[in-house]
């Protein structure tokens, strides 16, 4: 049956598909956080991130035509993948010890505030790609938009240490 559009609905509802998906994710994260706690929620979202990270890793290996990306290629890949989803990360510094990335807006936009578990997406995608190619990574997030900072600061450590979440290659 053909349905006429609801008059005036556009004035009230503005979300498009993209916004809808972000909202959906945010709500999922919300439900997870409130049901299983932040730590477990991060675990599950981290799991999803790891899978996406693995797939992307294969793609970047194909693009760079290599079996393992080097530090610079890893940094390039991380910036590139974020750019594609309007994450706009910039590399602040690269060294054999660590890659430091910063941004001032989040791909989840304003949906991310108070949803720290969503950051685990970035952590695990970054960590997975870095560890798969460089053998080990430890992702630390000293600043995040989700926690109320103006921007995110993500440090992908390539050496062992205390802070952050470890990834193994």
């Amino acid at each position: 049956m053909e349905m006429a559009p609801i008059a005036g609905a556009d004035k009230v509802i503005s979300r498009n598909r993209d916004e809808f998906l972000r909202e959906l994710l945010s709500e999922l994260a919300n439900v997870l956080e409130s049901r299983v706690g932040l730590e477990a929620a991060e675990g599950f979202i981290g799991r999803v991130g790891s899978r996406i990270g693995e797939t992307m890793n294969e793609e970047y290996r194909a693009i760079f035509e290599t079996d393992a990306l080097d530090v610079t290629q890893v940094a390039q890949a991380l910036v590139d993948l974020k750019e594609r989803i309007e994450g706009a990360f910039k590399v602040e510094s690269i060294s054999p010890e660590k890659i430091v990335l910063v941004n001032s807006s989040c791909p989840f936009a304003d949906q991310v505030e108070g949803r720290e578990s969503l950051c685990m997406m970035t952590t695990s995608v970054f960590g997975r790609i870095a560890a798969s190619n460089l053998g080990y990574a430890r992702v630390e997030k000293p600043q995040t938009i989700a926690r109320g900072d103006l921007g995110c600061r993500v440090i992908v450590h390539l050496t062992e240490g205390e802070a952050g979440r470890e990834f193994f290659g």
Partner: protein
Amino acid sequence: MSSLADAARHRDNEVSAFQALPKHAMLVDRAARVHVANAGAEKLVRHLFQDEAVPERWALPDVFEISLEDAVREMLIAASGDAMLLPLRAKRPGLPRRIRFRVGAIRNGTRAPNRFVLVSESGDALGKPFRELNAELEGANERARRERQHRLCLEKANNDLNAANAELKSFAYAVSHDLKSPLQTVSMLLSELDACGSRALDREKAELVGMSRETLSRMSVLIEDLLHYTELIGSVMPCEPCPLEEVLADVIADLRAEITGASATVRTGPLPVVSGEPVMLRVLFQNLLSNAIKFRHPDRPAKIDIGAEEADSDEMVTIRVADNGVGIAPEYRARIFDLFSRLHRHDEIPGSGLGLTMCRRIVQNLNGTLDVDENPDGGSIFILKLNVARDD
């Protein structure tokens, strides 16, 4: 004690703790081969292999439904702090379908781990909260369903009641109305008989005619009352502020003859302005007062007290009509409000048994209540709750 012995004991303690762990625990290498399995894990494997011989050395794919490649990959990912879920290779009674393991990476000076510790986790981390969430949702659905059903039932009951009321009303009206004309005819015929002159009748017959007249007049009162009552069924009263003091003054004036005849005293305290319909309120108090006079105690002059209590938070006011009459035994108190219900024989005290039925109907139509209680000083107290008239 030497520190070396201390360290040895410490290590022994750790090993036996690992062994005695009430969980499945394994030390696994990067090729998914199991190097050490604790008692729990050994038992699990023996149970799984049943009659088959357990191989000397076994790897994760020997026990779990997972490829070697995936097992290694999953361990690497889970070592970041997650758990991995491993389905058992075969179904066995008494064994779970899947086991969730926490994974820890062990490194010997290398950045990449060369071993992993797998320790089973009790239960599925998501399982419990999701079961709870599900139970909550189911509970909420069930509640909503019950509420819906309850509302439907109420609606239906209400509709049925309205229909029944309408039917009862038209039936009662028809009966009482149609009864009136034959009654009038008989009454007329009796008058004719009378008009023929008492001489024409002997004394006995004249007495019979007189009794018939009396019965007829009682019947016509009854029908008149019934007609009044049927008018009340299912009717919605337009409410206005009614000063009860005025209502009572009118009722007392109307009942002057009865009151003086019974040498009764009626005392009214300060009374509120209630929300009601003035004529109906008069009928109500007229019935209550005439009952109090009719059913007075033979040994003492009737005393009737009408007083009100402060309105409570619900905007309801309580009015008490207390008498010192014969009183009503507790077992009959509920019944007196029923249609035609009387506790006295008609030849003792006349009446149709409709007064209180009508009173309760009126009060119900005004969204109030009417009950009866015992007067501790002897007699009865009729307790009325009515809505206070609001100023707006």
